[in-house]
Symmetry: C2
Subunit: 207 residues, 2 copies
């Protein structure tokens, strides 16, 4: 195995920042377990077992099971925000930037749906403080998409009745990909990304 690790669903992980090695293995194991069964149905024994360690080893690197979820959520949301930022603040027309944002955001949710599922659906299992921190990142994601749509409306590219509602719908559509997407299904992440970019452009009145 090289230094670039692979998760079960083939996504090149962004967990490189997590050290030491044992802590990263535990984190990756937790992502897979949480995605499969949900946070509450996952036991610390299961996580440690997947990482090839004893149950007690988990507590050398993490204070609680919830800290694992918190770390996963923060890193995952940071990655999602980065993807949207790059697209939103890139060059090109609002149309091009929106298509870019949607297709790359959807590709991330489809290709890394193990991570995305945890990040998007296990939020409520966090305590109030951690939850508030993550919700702040989420609001920033919303702001990036809204900025593109507002640009498009201002330039006359888009025809949108309700900017806030449309922004929410676009993000909602992308996020829900993590719920239904499967690599066994008929589409690749790239294909869903392209399809969704087209659908979203129609939603904002392009074409």
């Amino acid at each position: 195995m090289s230094t670039a690790e692979e998760t079960a669903d083939g996504q090149t992980s962004a967990w490189g920042e997590v050290t030491p090695d044992a802590a990263r293995r535990l984190l990756v194991a937790a992502v897979e377990a949480f995605a499969e069964r949900g946070y509450h149905a996952t036991t610390t024994r299961d996580i440690a077992g997947r990482a090839g360690m004893s149950p007690a080893a988990l507590y050398i690197h993490y204070k609680t099971k919830e800290e694992l979820l918190h770390r996963i959520s923060r890193i995952g949301h940071a990655k999602a925000l980065e993807i949207l930022r790059v697209a939103a603040r890139g060059e090109g027309t609002a149309t091009e930037r929106l298509a870019d944002a949607v297709s790359s955001f959807v590709r991330w949710h489809a290709g890394g749906r193990t991570t995305a599922r945890v990040v998007q659906y296990e939020l409520d299992s966090l305590g109030p403080d951690a939850r508030a921190e993550i919700l702040a990142l989420r609001r920033q994601c919303d702001a990036e998409v809204r900025a593109i749509i507002e640009d498009g409306v201002a330039s006359g590219e888009f025809d949108v009745l309700d900017v806030k509602g449309t922004t929410l719908a676009v993000l909602s559509l992308c996020i829900d990909v993590a719920r239904w997407f499967s690599l066994d299904g008929p589409w690749t992440p790239d294909e869903v990304g392209a399809l969704y970019a087209d659908l979203v452009l129609r939603m904002v009145g392009v074409g």
Copy 2:
């Protein structure tokens, strides 16, 4: 209290078919608890407590905690399917029927989001047999929406590149309403229904 019961989020329930009274109270309590905390984080003691009964009372009316989820899922999916059927098989053009289907489906997810959340997001907590039964209902929901879209394509009302993918996206958009909608937010269920019907018509190229 009248015979028409109200859940915490103000939805007039469709639980009238559940008898006797104690069994219905337990079911409504379970819906609320599952929606708030998720199936695995909900205890049978919590459900019984919300229904004003002792923990043991639950097992007079239901064999297991999972049977509660199963019953909720089946009744909820049947209701969702009925909503789509009425819209899909009503009179009018494909455009009118699609708008009707989306707005009423979204209204159900928003107004009864307590129920909808359980129905749409706790499916994986069911055992294989129950899960398969519910997935069959879900496929019927998909078929109803797809039929409308195919009608619209055939009549020339719609311009759709990928009927299967667009059907999935439409349903996905509607379902995700249950995740984010809140009565404390800026919209009523009716408003979201109208907004989403407009967005979906744009997705299928009605313009």
